[in-house]
Amino acid sequence: MQLNSEAMPEQGVFQRGNMSQSNQAGNAATPDSAAQLDIFRRMLRIERNDDATRAQIRRGRITAPYYSARGQEVIPSTLSNLLTNDDKICTIYRGIHDMVAKDMPLRPLWAEICGRVDGTCKGKGGPMHLTHPETGVMVTTGIVGSSMPIANGFGWASLLNGDKNVTIAYFGDGASNIGAFHEALNLASVWKLPVIFVCANNGFAEHTRYENGTSVDFIAKRAIGYGMPGFTVDGNDPFDMYAHAHAAIERARAGEGPTLLECKTFRFMGHVFGDADGYMTKEEKEAAIAADPLPAFRQKLIDTGIATEAQLAELQVKLEAEVQDAIDFAFACDYPDVAELRRDVFAEEIPA
């Protein structure tokens, strides 16, 4: 039996290599000066916020587990530069950098991770379930893989609305081995949903090294199996990220369907705060930290005359003040009332 060739699914594509350097697509988009500065601002906002979070944990003022994304700043910062508040993200327990990149305000974020009633989720969700619809932070999940099927629902809504919004599903390399990944990418492709599947491939899933859990050398190759374009991107290079994110977003907004972006990166702080990192070598960790994209990009902005040292120092001061303000705000907030256990279970409050 031959399948009807007209109705055949689109062919999948896999590409590897730095699009910004090789300009493989022939027309790779590059961030202009303003965009570069904005990407850096978002990166620094993430890093300053992460640093402050770890400081508060060390001081014992935050008691919940914390999954730092230090080192992965380029990925969401570059994407967020190309997104609006109407574009949505579904992210994961390690997703605070995705939210900070999306310009989620820090006060409700901090109040939430401190379990206060003025937190964005009234202290009921905590760091693994932060939500901020105003900036498009729709879902934060603690279940590996689950960001993806839900992102499809927002994508379907965009088709129904006839709007041009895109939805980003953030996830990790380990998550690419779970069933939800497969089901979500297949559905998104069959339905041509405006969803971008962004895999932060940091080389580890908890303590498991990439190749010990993942059967393919490049996750982006899996796009071939879904008839969609897939790219392995240098997730630490804002130019390569920009070129691929731009193409994927354009494609999604044009109604052409989803894209899989595998963004190579590294998490400097291990899986969870306090992680002893015994499952990686000292050398690889040191090498990764030596290649920290944040100072490198900062230097590049200065070298290329996009910003001066003074400007960037001022930016940092401003961001640190914003973070400090959020911390002060959070710790001054009240704790939620126990009556909250009966609220938001359903729209209607559960009777006492």
């Binding site: 099927p149 809504a157 089901e183």
Partner: protein, 338 residues
């Protein structure tokens, strides 16, 4: 608690099956509210409008974007329902049979049921999961189970289980407009049985039981596939001079405690009948609550009847033995009446 059957002679009554009632509710809901979506495996007309034909005609009328067939991927179905619901739509997702819900539990339990709470009320997930189940068709261990107890035990999702055409329509209309996730259980024994329904049957509130028949000696509490057998048992008991009150819960969670407790307070005796497994099942909550609330007012212990502790078997003779029969209800009732 009410019968919710219009009693005015002027109301035009129709005869239809539960399936037709579900179909009518879907047509009406999609017509009245452009946010209502229907999707699941084979639901569109290109695929025959469902393998049972329940959704036939919807995609032709409301278009391929609102009524969509999906790949076989229940996690993906539930995920899409959650996202669309959070984006302001009212998706009615079909999981063909309840046993297949086992591959989508994460989406339902960790996400649909919890997102409103975990987001402090920022997210709402007004979706409906329609799913068919029930023993009696010899489909054995993986196609017959009643797992509503799992979801009743899960905070944040309502569980509805109609037993007659009017309720199939009225409860589905309410479930679709409910601001929270609802599991809507279609039972294979009741779904294809014709019954009376008002031509203009409107929404029936969730959480309200239906008084099937009044009685004074004993209260028989049931829902879904077991309403028929239980009602038959009540008729049998009547012959023996026993007056049984029969309550169809209609909604398993939140269940109509007021109606049940008022009835048992009156009769002093209760039997709870479910198709779901008896052990650690929904009947336990009802029995435990009755004894907790009406201690000292009961004339007998609350009895529970339900599936035995095994998978649903294939052979007809075993399947019949698996299901609670009306004779079992009669025996239990007589047993506690002494």
């Amino acid at each position: 608690m009410s019968t919710d059957t219009p009693t005015l002679d002027t109301v035009e009554m129709l005869k239809m099956t539960g399936q037709q009632a579900v179909s009518a509710a879907l047509f009406q809901a999609m017509e009245e509210d452009p946010k209502v979506l229907v999707f699941g495996e084979d639901v569109a007309d290109r695929e025959g409008g469902g393998v049972m034909g329940t959704t036939k005609g919807l995609s032709t009328k409301f278009g391929d974007l609102r009524v969509r067939s999906t790949p076989i991927a229940e996690q993906s179905i539930m995920g899409a329902a959650i996202g669309a619901a959070m984006a302001g739509y009212k998706p009615v997702a079909e999981i063909m049979l309840m046993n297949f819900i086992t591959v989508a539990m994460d989406m339902i339990v960790n996400h649909a049921a919890k997102l409103r709470f975990m987001s402090g009320g920022q997210s709402q997930v007004p979706l409906v999961i329609r799913t068919l189940t029930g023993a009696g068709w010899q489909t054995a261990g993986q196609h017959s189970d009643h797992y509503e107890g799992w979801f009743a035990h899960t905070a944040g999702i309502k569980v509805v289980a109609p037993s007659c055409p009017a309720d199939y329509k009225g409860l589905l209309l309410s479930a679709i407009q409910d601001p929270d996730p609802v599991l809507f259980i279609e039972n294979s024994q009741t779904m294809f049985v014709p019954g009376e329904i008002a031509a203009n049957q409107g929404p029936i509130p969730l959480g309200k039981a239906r008084l099937v028949q009044e009685g004074k000696d004993i209260t028989l509490i049931t829902y879904s596939g077991m309403v028929a057998n239980t009602t038959a048992a009540a008729a049998e008991l009547a012959k023996a001079g026993i007056s049984a009150e029969v309550i169809d819960l209609r909604t398993v969670s939140p269940w109509d405690k007021d109606a049940v407790l008022a009835s048992v307070e009156k009769t002093g005796r209760a039997v709870v009948v479910t198709e779901a497994g008896r052990y650690f099942g929904p009947s336990a909550e009802i029995a435990a609550t009755i004894q907790e609330t009406l201690f000292g007012k009961l004339k007998a212990p609350v009895r529970r009847l339900g599936g035995p502790y095994c998978a649903v078997p294939f052979a007809k003779v075993l399947e019949d033995a698996y299901l609670v029969q009306s004779a079992d209800v009669v025996a239990a009732a007589k047993g506690i009446l002494g």
